[in-house]
């Protein structure tokens, strides 16, 4: 039987506010345990939550960027359950009335297929603290620094049909929240993580199969692995006559498998009800307009502009707009190069990205600034150096040996474009290679390349290759 995979994602994006969603405590990551938990975060008797207005602004940005409806009125509710790292015995979240709903995002499945993924809702909530099970001699330590950190939970429609699509969607959301400046996207620190709802059904069947919810996925690679493992597990189960049970499963990144956490029967009854300590969030159209004016250029628009203005392919424009920093770098390089769009794109996506990958660096930490790269591209364009020599210049730029012009000067890499000088060298080469000249005359035209190579060797690669070709062609026939 042919099976179809159905996937929906719930992404938790930690909002990049300085203070927590309902208290004034800092959200800074990595502090000593329990040093960033105030009376409100600790859930002391008598304390009350006060909404951080910045999270509302951020949620509205997300809503606008995903073609969603921003709810004129949304309500915080209490999700009641007991857990030691949940100080109040309830999590404040949004339940029936989320702040953002009914939007979508287009993803590129491959170079020429675009797919629209529905966004059911995005709601605001507070994070819980952390339970630390090691180092406490069989006991559990509680760190409440993270308690009350603002999260935007982004729930997709079950519109994805493969792990690859799920990854593409997750990457797109990741890029978007960073573009918007509402989440730092740091997956190691847990600022961006996801749960995946996965089910399979016979190809052509309308009804959804029973789903499993995969928890605790904190990298793009793991999303793909977890989903693929789970799909195989469910298909194997069904094909051997079993049934999938609705349950929550934990992805184990070390063993590349998912295992059951709790079944539907064991699931909590969260007893949601509107939080009487907080007023409904009322958002008027004027506020939405005000936020709309602060939106940066979004990836879709930027991609189109790169195609229109710089003549880039859809693929290249897509790569360069995948994150805001890369796009900014590219445009700064174009500017410094005197408007060389395609050339800049080739270098940013080629040599630069390769070097960054190798060094494990993000674009923001590139040792070669956009200005320096652009300066070098300008010298390629005006013929001062060849593309080949430029690779040497780039390495020197990376090593911090100064500007492109300084490197070209000190290393003597300037291209030889003086015809008489090149003619002299060609003459010498032809005189010193009678055997090869004989072969060429006997019709072995590929020997032509040998002569070019000799000329380049004699000039240490500095001769203008185009001129060498032209002059050699003329002189070889007259020789």
């Amino acid at each position: 039987m042919e099976w179809e995979t159905v996937i929906g994602l719930e992404i938790h994006a930690q909002l990049a506010t300085r203070s927590k969603i309902f208290s004034g405590a800092s959200t800074r990551y990595g502090a000593e345990p329990n040093t960033q938990a105030c009376a409100v975060d600790l859930g002391l008797p008598g304390v009350l939550p006060v909404l951080n207005g910045e999270v509302v602004r951020m949620a509205v940005k997300f809503g606008l960027a995903t073609h969603s409806t921003v709810a004129p009125r949304s309500v915080f509710a209490r999700k009641n359950y007991f857990y030691p790292d949940l100080p109040k015995g309830y999590q404040i979240s949004q339940y029936e009335l989320p702040i953002v709903h009914d939007g979508y995002l287009d993803i590129e499945v491959d170079e020429d297929t675009v797919k629209r993924i529905g966004i059911t809702r995005a709601h605001l909530e507070e994070d819980a603290g952390k339970s630390l099970h090691e180092d406490f001699h069989g006991m559990t330590g509680i760190d409440l620094n993270r308690a009350g950190t603002p999260l935007l939970e982004i729930v997709s429609e079950p519109d994805m049909r493969s792990a690859r699509e799920a990854v593409a969607y997750m990457k797109k959301i990741h890029s978007l929240v960073r573009y918007l400046g509402i989440c730092d996207g740091n997956m190691q620190e847990g600022s961006f993580r996801c749960d995946a709802n996965v089910s399979v059904r016979p190809q052509g069947q309308q009804a959804f199969g029973t789903r499993a919810e995969l928890k605790n996925i904190n990298s793009f690679r793991f999303v793909e692995q977890a989903i693929n493992y789970e799909v195989e597990r469910q298909i194997a189960l069904l094909e051997s006559g079993g049934t999938v049970v609705q349950e929550t499963r934990l992805f184990d990144a070390d063993r590349h498998e998912t295992r059951p956490m709790r079944t539907k029967e064991e699931a909590n009854d969260y007893r949601y009800f509107p939080d009487p300590d907080l007023l409904p969030v009322e958002i008027d159209p004027v506020f939405i307009e005000e936020v709309a004016r602060t939106l940066p250029e979004l990836p879709e628009a930027k991609k189109q502009r790169f195609m229109d203005d710089y003549g880039l392919s859809a693929y290249d424009a897509g790569v360069l707009t995948a994150n805001r920093e890369l796009g900014d770098y590219f445009e700064a390089a174009v500017e410094a190069s005197g408007g060389q769009g395609k050339l800049s794109a080739n270098w940013v996506m080629g040599e630069l990205s390769g070097a960054l990958n190798k060094a494990g660096l993000e674009i923001g930490a590139s040792p070669v600034s956009a200005g320096a790269l652009g300066g070098m591209l300008r010298r390629i364009e005006d013929g001062t150096i060849s593309g080949k020599i430029a690779k040497q210049v780039f390495e020197a730029l990376w090593a911090g040996e100064g500007s492109a012009d300084e490197i070209i000067e000190t290393r003597g890499l300037k291209q030889i474009s003086d015809s008489s000088a090149i003619e002299g060298i060609i003459r010498d080469v032809l005189e010193n290679s009678p055997k090869q000249l004989e072969q060429y005359r006997n019709g072995q035209e590929k020997v032509f390349g040998y002569f070019v190579g000799q000329v380049m060797k004699a000039t240490q690669g500095k001769a203008n290759p185009k001129q060498v070709n032209e002059l050699l062609k003329k002189m070889i026939n007259n020789a």
């Binding site: 002391l44 030691p84 007893r271 949601y272 009800f273």
Partner: protein, 484 residues
Amino acid sequence: MHQKTLVELGAGLRQGEYSSEELTRVCLDRVSALDKQLNSFITLTEELALQAARDADARIRSGEAGPLTGIPYAHKDIFCTRGVRTSCGSHMLDNFIAPYDATVTQQLNAAGAVMIGKTNMDEFAMGSSNETSFYGPVTNPWDSETVPGGSSGGSAAAVAARLVPVSTGTDTGGSIRQPAALCGITGLKPTYGRVSRYGMIAFASSLDQAGPFARTAEDAALMLGAMAGFDLRDSTSVERAVDDYTGGLNESLQGLKIGLPTQFFGAGLDSAVAAAIELALDEYRKLGAVITEISLPNSQLAVPTYYVVAPAECSSNLSRFDGVRFGYRAEHPADLEDLYKRSRGEGFGAEVKRRIMIGTYALSAGYYDAYYLKAQQARRLIREDFMRAFEQVDVIMGPTAPSAAFRLGEKADDPVTMYLSDIYTIAVNLAGLPGMSIPAGFAADMPVGLQLIGNYFEEARLLNAAHRYQQVTDWHARCPQGYE
């Protein structure tokens, strides 16, 4: 000195007739002498009080005294007070030293009032007789065999017994007005949102509201002035200037339209209480008020609605008492579940557990619509009744409680009968309106309270109506025997 009102004491302090330290010692001495019987205090803060009194004296000498500066008061043990045990009447918080001050505490401190201790109360404010307290029941100064009412029973008894001139209370379903009535003093529950709830241990967040106890409306006005105000730390507090509650106290009641809800005078109302209320209404007629009957047709929904909304909210509010971070923790828990079960099982009393279970049930999947949502709808109807009534009248009046103080133990084993003692007060909380109880005579030698209900933020009008009544009657000045 202990017979003087806050207004009189304030004048005496500012004129140098006595110091706050002397006055505070008088109060502390009365507590040591008389509170064994009453049990109105859980914690006495003698050292802190004397220090605060000396600070107040310095402030008085420098001419910067306000009306409350140097005035001793008793603070319901539901308000967090930094460095002082804040028990909420519960074993659960018997060991809880609050690390911060409630906003109300801060404001009274800032006004220079002198807290002499924390008063007894029903556990987590759940009760109408003060019998659910972990610290034992409070007795009524008028008859030690009877209850003072609840949940703010300690604060009411302490003022009635002249241990302090004023005190604080909280009112979720009558917990200021009913004990004020049963103890023969003046109590005011402000409009929901008028006084900050920050630092006031939550029972039912959408109903809880703090207010003062005093012997006179004038004293209550001064206390309310210090307690009220917008607070950024409480999202449900209302950003609105605090009225001058004393300025209009003496205004004429000529033409004041008073509404009597027929539903407050039906079956279940003690006839002696009804008679006392009738006499009080006659006084209002003499003062020029016009009295008409009105209808609050959904009144009978108030008690059942309340006993869904309040337990639902409390079941969630009290989840934080889990033995993990503060409060009572069971010894040698076998595992996490055992820690939760025994800490809560041993830390909470029977009434608290009953309400947590009722509330948990009401919020459970499959029951939510039938209980919680239904209760919210009923709550709207109750509110609309009042809104219609206030289109016709200025103030609504009636009995505060269906009977005078009942005997200790009389209703303790019958929760439903106990719940019905709040039948006239609860609707006011559901609607979020301000309400007052003032002494209005006696029924079989026990005090009767007249309830005054106003429109939103019309505390000043209630205080005016109460004050004028107190100018022509002396019920509020009567002192229980043995406490003169």
